[in-house]
Subunit: 378 residues, 2 copies
């Protein structure tokens, strides 16, 4: 009702697409300008360097302290370096960037806050646990698509040794871990988002009109709700996050009125070996067969022989896989359409000690290879 | 350069104002649709009920546990109730709201995350320490102004007893506090933001065209950078935040090319008795005399005889003062133009123990009374 009224007013003022165009379905945003991903950067620690992404990372540090006095300072420096590298690859100085949207796993996101102090640009700190990457990309894409920022950087980091002692036990104890536990990725990733098309409204149901450069585009965002399925085990976060991932993917596909095969890849953040089959099963129960297109970043960071339990986790799980690997696949056309769904488990030491459940959240960002929409429509 | 190019393209497509219009100066966003603040709600604990805001709060709880098992659950419930009350006052069901942007002071913002689980709408979790209110309003206003959300709620909370034990000492110890220390407000505030004008671009240098309802409008946002002046004392956060407040206010006024008296009130979040004079002094050094227009929310929550040290702090400091008191002043025309500048001190127990400084951040949101711009222009 209100939409109809607004659309009329908007059209009358010659600003079609700016009020109601951006929303499709119940929950999904269609970015009418299709912001560009100008560049990404990813840095990682020694274990990440030894893994399948090793040769794709921009920097592999030889030790997880990076020569700093604390793991927290090391984590902060990784985030700074990822942001600086990404800006540089996009041909920008950090000072040219209007907005940094960043988060991490630490209490009071001190890695991001302290990195922002060094980077010295307007800073929006976020917390979405391991869903931070797609939350940050979504906010940054709104800012760029709406013209509130000409250039924005979405960035996240995590560090195995800071997360381990904050959420579980003192790192030096080397407590034995059950097989459902995941290994927090040591690394940081940054995504530079710049203005997209201004030549017409290609959002929602619009047709892709082609573009003259080779940057992948951000087409849609679906922000998730918090979903609680009663999981209480902090060593099984994959199960805690799977229902949220399924919920967001289901709503996204319904809003676009497409099936899973609309995407070449639906890539969750860190469900890993335990959570991924649960999410796929939940989607199958809703008649959505994702078996041919779904994968999880948590299964792409380490080799099986690296013995990381159920797989990778942490904000840097989806950040390293996206920024180092999948962004290249998009840019070089090996993937036409991507739905990236970073997944977060919402707990603190306090909430766990107080016997609270561990709810999950997942935010989905749809992206396209340069020219991908051209031959395929929406 | 790029701006010029974009403006031409944009005008050609008949969408003037959507790309470059929203940015003025170096750092400031001008919201072309001037989103409405449809309603606010504020709830507080017993001490807040005894203070000057007491009779203005929507709910005053008789004890700080609210009958819950833990202070954390009490804090979560306060946030839920503030959001539900604000939605109700705006004539909305919570389910009608497209986006909740919320944060608090707790590790992993569990109060906000658990409130979002109950409220069951798309959730963007933020962390900006006590700057959370204006960070949340800024993100929500971008979302509504850009058409990405029809209605959004920005909400924050804090609780004296959860903050005390998390950041300082076990609450039950009742450790003696130095006079520079502030008292974390127990309360929650919520701000409902709905679509503004669609009848022309009134952002940036545009003239106000009047509107036919009595809702205050959000006109500008200036997101701050992290500023570090070398403060290390966690019992003197006012001093830590004052430079960030001054930095953001200075940049905001420069971007708008106006003096401090453009505003009837420049209201910081929780600088309190120690930090406010420092911020005013820093602005005076830049030739900005704010003595007639500047005040701090931290001085408005408690009576002097309540013995809260230097004043109030916490996300709920600016939330309670804005949502319960200043919003009414705007709505009823006692204030024409407001610059609200929530201020955050960025520290964690870990960063403090590791000897790190406590940097600050501040985000500014400009608002106008209904019709305020009409007679005054910009």
């Amino acid at each position: 009702m209100q939409e109809g009224t607004q659309a009329t007013t908007t059209l009358a003022a010659g600003r079609a697409g700016t009020r109601t165009g951006p929303r499709i379905g119940q929950r999904t945003i269609a970015f009418s300008s299709r912001p560009r991903i100008a560049a990404t950067a990813a840095v990682g620690g020694p274990m990440e360097g030894d893994g399948p992404l090793g040769r794709l990372l921009d920097v592999v540090y030889q030790d997880s302290l990076l020569g700093e006095k604390s793991w927290e300072l090391a984590e902060t420096r990784m985030l700074c370096e990822a942001v600086e590298l990404a800006a540089d690859k996009a041909g920008l100085a950090v000072g040219d960037v209007d907005m940094l949207v960043a988060g991490d796993l630490l209490n009071e996101i001190i890695a991001s806050s302290f990195a922002a102090r060094h980077l010295d640009i307007p800073f929006l700190g976020i917390f979405g646990a391991c869903s931070a990457l797609t939350e940050a990309i979504g906010i940054a894409a709104m800012a760029v698509d709406g013209g509130y920022a000409r250039r924005a950087i979405a960035a996240v980091c995590s560090h195995h040794d800071t997360a381990e002692r904050q959420y579980r036990y003192p790192t030096e104890l080397a407590v034995q871990r059950p097989p459902t536990a995941q290994w927090t990725v040591t690394g940081a990733g940054a995504v530079v988002i710049t203005a997209g098309d201004n030549d017409g409204d290609t959002g929602g149901s619009g047709e892709y009109r082609g573009d003259d450069d080779a940057r992948p585009r951000i087409t849609h965002a679906t922000f998730g709700r918090v979903v609680d399925m009663g999981i209480k085990n902090p060593f099984d976060l994959g199960s805690a996050m799977a229902p949220a991932a399924a919920d967001t993917i289901r709503r996204h596909l319904a809003d676009l009125q497409v099936g899973p095969d609309h995407y070449d890849l639906i890539l969750t953040g860190d469900l890993s070996r335990v959570g991924l089959p649960i999410a796929m099963e939940l989607l199958a129960e809703d008649g959505l067969d994702v078996s041919g297109v779904m994968d999880d970043c948590g299964l792409r960071v380490y080799h099986p022989e690296q013995e990381v339990g159920a797989g990778a986790s942490g904000c840097a799980s989806s950040a390293l896989v996206f920024a180092a690997q999948v962004f290249r696949d998009l840019q070089e056309g090996r993937i036409g359409r991507l739905l990236l769904v970073s997944t977060g488990a919402l707990l603190s030491k306090t909430s766990a000690h107080q016997g609270e459940n561990i709810p999950g959240i997942a935010h989905a960002i749809a992206m396209e290879a340069p020219g991908a929409g051209k031959e395929r429509g929406r």
